[in-house]
Subunit: 398 residues, 2 copies
């Protein structure tokens, strides 16, 4: 409804166009406008999740969607996706249990964390989960002992500097190690079915996948030449959400990625994709409140704006200002000015945007409501249990 | 018991010397060695908290201790400190409620967050809390309306590059603004009693306080010259804990700081100090487990060691590798080698130490117990509610 952010978003994020045109509000945002909240609250529009799932599924064609549960494990989302036929990528025993509770059978759940607790592997195996990720010898030994005969995909490291949130080397192994791990899997009685990788979170253009897919295809071919016939390609996540910079529409994006995959891998028997952010981020918005607007001295260039939500209560992805959230306020038409944005805690690290200040209405003051857009992913479960005594982010599904 | 960390710590951290000399274990660490834990658990030794409180209180002399509740709000700690006569610095309504529940009366609680929700100010005022922090005009207006007549201290910005975790400009105001806010407080019917500042978290040597105290004393004098007689000096926190680098013993440290204060401020009517980390960090240790040890390729320089606790489940202070925790394992006598240390989540940001790797036993492997030392502060409440499905840090007080 107000300012630059709203005007930009209607251009690139299809869901906003569906709200009343004079408002440019998503359904979640309109719900926030119409309600009061006692504390910071994430509102998730399940209809928007369903639409996005349909668009991605159509673009991905024969690739199977395994929703990255860690992005947002709200039961309403899991139940909806289970009903729509989605599969699930779980990071832990708890996430597997949540998927089962939401109605997914074990054969639709992969245990995608390369770092697993032995007791969790055994528990998942007992539930019937049979597809696991690995990137190291010791992980294969754990799997062979506690999930004998399991299907395993080996995660490989890829180089990519184009994603908005490039992944470090924390996950995956180098090419030679990957081939060794495939051979070792066989020797341990496991079934090494394929490879996985991650292009990097928030990869805004499908074309950015090309150099990464080239790297994976080279390892895939090397595995074949070494006598390992692989049948499963897990292309991971990286599907983007709208945070103020142009992204492609989800169906086109997914179809373009699949085109790039087909050029390099041909008719792979099984392809799986793990959208998380790209599936739920735009479906959510956070209702928050301005606690204080101030200047440190009268000749300060920027105002400081303090919100009742911060880095430790849901907005962890503002770390290093990586994810740039968009904001709406009720002061439509006010002139805008640059602000440093900070959270409510007594922690000096709880500053959201300082290097690149945020444009907000000049009339903004304590008590004003503020809506944070496209917050459906990586917010609610990041919130701390009670840092500084602040409650975790509340979640409402509509 | 093992390695470099243990040997160093006995030199500088007095409490370790009290354990059996051949073990060099604190009471919390010994408790962890003797018990099994199903998930990452912080063990807090309340006897160590009591000893540290006594040492700081003796060193601080006539200055009143207001424990910074945010460092660790465990009910056992709050009840102990309430019984010992401590006062409390609360960051939120919830923290005030916890202090009241622990037996502290409202006159022993200050509301030290400069960014407060209006409804929380009104609630605190109704409970009888009468001492508040502020650093901005709008905050004074909120206080005047919802806590009329309250005593207020103005937080000022100080420059300090020597602390291990230097604070940004998030809190406090510049000198001229401070004088304006004192005058404005009076005009609003508030009682501007004094100034507060923060020297920076983990200020390892008392001498580092001198240049900061000089800055505050200049503002204090300017206030007097402007006709504002101040009676309360809040010296904040900054009291250090042992993380592997030499620190002074707490009583000496506190006494040295008070000496520096006296040189600059003379006989101030009221002095308050807000130790948090310096009071509870060394009293706690975390029981954790190694989930995986791996190399990304056979010619990798360092191993990767993955724990069942990470940045999102209690070790948030490893951000930018600011706080360097010390580790103990059961592999006493093993040769050590450098490791990159990471948490269990599927988040690439969940890496604890990479720029400066950690020395750990070469024989370390999945399933090994690992003790993280001096974790009593800023761990339990930073833990996320369930990121990646991992439960928050458990807390046990002994």
């Amino acid at each position: 409804m107000t300012g630059l952010a709203a005007r930009q978003s209607t251009v690139f994020a299809p869901q906003f166009a569906e709200a009343a045109p004079e408002q440019h509000l998503s359904r979640a945002e309109a719900y926030i406008r119409a309600h009061d909240f006692a504390r910071p609250t994430l509102v998730i529009d399940t209809q928007a999740v369903a639409r996005q799932y349909a668009a991605l599924a159509q673009g991905l064609g024969r690739a199977r969607i395994h929703y990255a549960v860690k992005a947002n494990p709200a039961p309403e989302i899991l139940r909806l996706l289970a009903r729509l036929g989605s599969n699930f990528d779980a990071a832990s025993r708890t996430e597997i249990a949540m998927c089962l509770a939401a109605g997914a059978t074990a054969d639709r759940i992969s245990f995608g964390n390369t770092v697993k607790k032995v007791s969790d592997i055994a528990w998942a195996h007992a539930q019937g989960v049979s597809l696991f990720a690995a990137d190291a010898e010791e992980e294969l030994e754990k799997l062979a002992e506690h999930a004998p005969g399991a299907r395993v995909y080996i995660r490989v490291i890829v180089e990519n500097c184009e994603a908005d949130w490039p992944l470090t080397r924390k996950f995956g192994c180098a090419r030679d190690k990957a081939l060794e791990l495939i051979a070792m899997s066989k020797a341990l009685g496991l079934d090494p079915v394929g490879l996985s990788f991650h292009v990097g979170s928030q990869t805004r253009s499908a074309q950015m996948w090309a150099p990464v897919l080239d790297q994976v295809a080279a390892i895939w071919r090397a595995a074949g030449e070494a006598g390992h016939e692989l049948s499963l390609l897990n292309i991971g996540g990286g599907f983007p959400a709208f945070y103020g910079e142009a992204i492609e529409a989800p169906m086109n994006y997914a179809a373009d990625v699949m085109g790039l995959v087909h050029e390099r891998f041909g008719d792979v028997a099984e392809i799986m994709a793990e959208p998380g952010r790209g599936l739920v981020a735009e479906a959510g918005a956070i209702a928050a409140e301005v606690l204080l607007v101030s200047k440190k001295s009268d000749n300060d260039l920027h105002r400081w704006v303090y919100l009742d939500i911060g880095k430790f209560s849901g907005l962890a992805e503002t770390m290093e200002e990586a994810i740039r959230y968009q904001f709406l306020t009720d002061r439509d038409g006010d002139d805008l000015g640059a602000c440093i944005l900070a959270g409510p805690s007594c922690d000096s690290a709880d500053v959201l945007y300082e290097k690149r200040p945020v444009e907000l209405p000049l009339g903004l003051k304590a008590g004003d409501r503020i809506i944070i857009r496209c917050c459906g992913a990586y917010t609610s479960t990041y919130a701390s249990v009670g840092f500084n005594g602040f409650p975790p982010l509340d979640v409402v599904a509509i």
